[in-house]
Amino acid sequence: MRVMAQMSMIMNLDKCIGCHTCSVTCKQAWTNRSGVEYVWFNNVETRPGVGYPRGYEDQDKWGGGWVRTKRGRIKLRSGGRLAKLARIFSNPNLPGIHDYYEPWTYDYDMLINAPRTAQTPVARPKSLLTGEDMKISWSANWDDDLGGSLETMQQDPILAKMSEEVKAEFEKAFMFYLPRICEHCLNPSCVASCPSGAMYKRAEDGIVLVDQDQCRGWRMCVSGCPYKKVYFNHRTGKAEKCTFCYPRIEVGLPTVCSETCVGRLRYLGIVLYDADRVAEAASVEDDTALLQAQRDIILDPNDPAVIEAARAGDIPEDWIEAAQRSPIWKLMQYEVALPLHPEYRTMPMVWYIPPLSPVVDVVTGSGNDGEDARTLFAAIDKLRIPIGYLAELFTAGDVAPVDAALRRLAAMRSYMRGINLDDERDERIANAVGMSGAEIEEMYRLLAIAKYEERYVIPSAHTEQAHALEEMACSLDFEGGPGMGGAGPFGSSSGQSVPVAVENFHMLQNRQTADRPSSPGRVNLLNWDGNGTPDGLFPPSTMGDVRPTGKRKDDKDKG
């Protein structure tokens, strides 16, 4: 047994209202630069729907993740090492930018600078790839709230697996939101696909990162990830991905997407797992057995043998304690959380509590009591369509675990109603789903009350290791140096690397001027964060050019 710690997340889908705040704040924090305009480390897709990038779940087309060979081992679906190198000059599985969407801005300045005409001036969309006018016909979220989905729905790879009758029925049946980030997998196929070894899983907390200095732009990780959560920065020529906000996690803060989630539906914590058994668990024969296999390699942090082994593996004492308090471990214990697409065999570590709301909606919609345990149980048994769909997402098609999770959520609903209305604790409801009333109340506390300190149990990185934190190794001697975004001598962002904090600082400043404006000398308002007055925001001043904030290009010339 080799115990390792993994930082993980669980999202409670019932609470997601599809507001995209997580996506927007993540974008502001990490991908508000040119080259990654089209990149959403966090995206929220409406299901049923095609997702982002379009139809990414169709692995016959994209070749992501692992498959089991006849000999019972796993291999990369798009081919092993030799096959990867043979196809390195042009990667046949790489999504083009149009599979995500063509990024654009608007020529806003036309609104105020257009010559006087009979018509009201409009801000036309301009492609950020070519600078030309473009027709916006797709985006990261085109079928939001099932918008226009009658046209695109048939491209949903999950629906495609289900029967015709289901396809015809779905629209009446249900809809929910699925926020997605990188899964920080235990068996990451992106890492396995990287020819230069630039991608790695951090030994301390399992966060999967790209070493920007070692990435050589072979772009195999992009196609290797079945969730399409590694992106190619088309300006710098390097791969980028969700960082699990490691600079925040290292100091004990939740990720940006979790912290800003208005529904407070994200849980963060560490789990301990047996690294020696990952490959074995990922190669079990049946796709539907993968969920149990993954549950099995996650270790009980209260088991003395596990604690012993964790100590032997240099896991600090407070990390072990954090694993014991971890909301992730608890929710996995209640068996209400399920991984996304376990059949990709990457052992994903961002799990989901499936939504009960489609069921409740149907029950209440038909005039019945949506909080009555027996009605709900009956509805779960009867509503095969949403359950089947959820099973395709979370359990490789096996409805039993989804059923079980939903029944527990339903039981919690009516058990707690009993307490609230009749002040009665009906143990029978709890027992019907194999729990005790006390357990249900605990689960309720975690899921419904969801206190900040209970949602996020993040042990900070260690003080004795503090000097090693990437953020602490910086000094501010980078001013004016190369590598600060914008174009270096060898293309975008070439030059020496800078620590993230310094880089971000300069990025903020640079971004206001560096993006290609919709027309020369104008600022791209979409990328302006509201601070400072970058060049081009206002017409040239006639009053001399003293500005309190915002660095002007010509400052430099004046020395």
Binding site: L76, R81, L82, L85, I88, F89, S90, L94, P95, G96, I97, L129, T130, G131, E132, N187, V191, A192, C194, P195, S196, G197, Y200, K201, R202, A203, E204, D205, D211, D213, Q214, C215, R216, G217, W218, R219, F232, H234, R235, T236, G237, K238, E464, A466, H467, A468, E470, M472, A473, S475, P482, G483, G488, P489, F490, G491, S494, G495, Q496, S497
Partner: protein, 252 residues
């Protein structure tokens, strides 16, 4: 031996080699982040799917051919039974095929760079300069082969250019060897050295990162946070904060 000859066949090659070596070291230290293929496949794949493999397979064959033709003395090849005749057949046959493949690939790539909007916009000045020198070098090389080896009587570069390049590499330059070489070959050599001098400052640096190590490493890479740090050494006087050593405190 004129002054011009010494400049062309001693000074220029050594200068180019020096720039090549020092340039790569400098670029690697200064610009690890810019060391990439700068792939443009996300923009366009229809042309690249043909152009890039054709060009790369062609150029790798060409490079292999040059190693055999230039660096390996022909006596060694004789020793393992590769006679002049066999060599000539192989070199001209395979060489022409490789050249055709490379040039066709290059043509597709350059056409693509120019005509596909996003690719053109992402093309840097160094890309353009690189393509000019690459095309010129390949062009002279192909012309020389066509005129002398295919159509002409055959020029024995293994008696002149090859020993000369080896004499450069062992620091005993023999200028006289290059004096009588036909102009096309001379231009091919000179443009190649110009390309070498440009090499470290272009995207061609990606050649030195060819990921052979991938064949031998385990699939999943783990790294410790500690090992990750220090992409860049802190300046003197900016040493990172260290935890005080309690042992030393007690010793006071």
């Amino acid at each position: 031996m004129t002054a011009l000859q010494i400049v062309l066949w001693v000074a220029v090659p050594y200068a180019a080699i020096a720039v090549f070596i020092v340039g790569h070291i400098w670029r690697y230290r200064y610009d690890k982040f810019g060391w990439t293929t700068r792939s443009s496949q996300t923009y366009e794949n229809r042309l690249l799917r043909w152009g890039s493999p054709m060009f790369h397979i062609g150029i790798l064959m060409v490079i292999a051919g040059h190693v055999v033709g230039l660096l390996i003395p022909r006596e060694w090849l004789y020793a393992i039974g590769i006679t002049e005749g066999i060599y000539h057949l192989g070199a001209t046959g395979l060489g022409s095929f490789a050249a055709a493949l490379t040039l066709a690939g290059l043509a597709i790539l350059v056409y693509r760079r120019r005509t596909v909007g996003p690719v053109f916009l992402a093309t840097t000045v160094m890309d353009k300069v690189m393509y000019v020198f690459l095309a010129v070098t390949l062009g002279f090389g192909t012309l020389a082969t066509v005129f002398y080896q295919l159509l002409g009587p055959g020029f024995h570069y293994r008696e002149t250019i090859s020993p000369w390049i080896r004499s450069i590499l062992i620091f005993q330059p023999d200028v006289a060897l290059m004096a009588e070489v036909p102009l096309l070959f001379q231009l091919h050599v000179l443009s190649a050295f110009a390309l070498f001098a440009l090499w470290p400052f272009t995207r061609l640096v990606h050649v030195f990162s060819a990921p052979v190590g991938y064949l031998f490493r385990p699939y999943i890479v783990y790294r410790s946070r500690d090992a990750v740090r220090g992409a860049r050494k802190p300046r003197r006087g900016w040493d990172p904060v260290q935890q005080p050593n309690p042992q030393r405190l007690h010793g006071l």
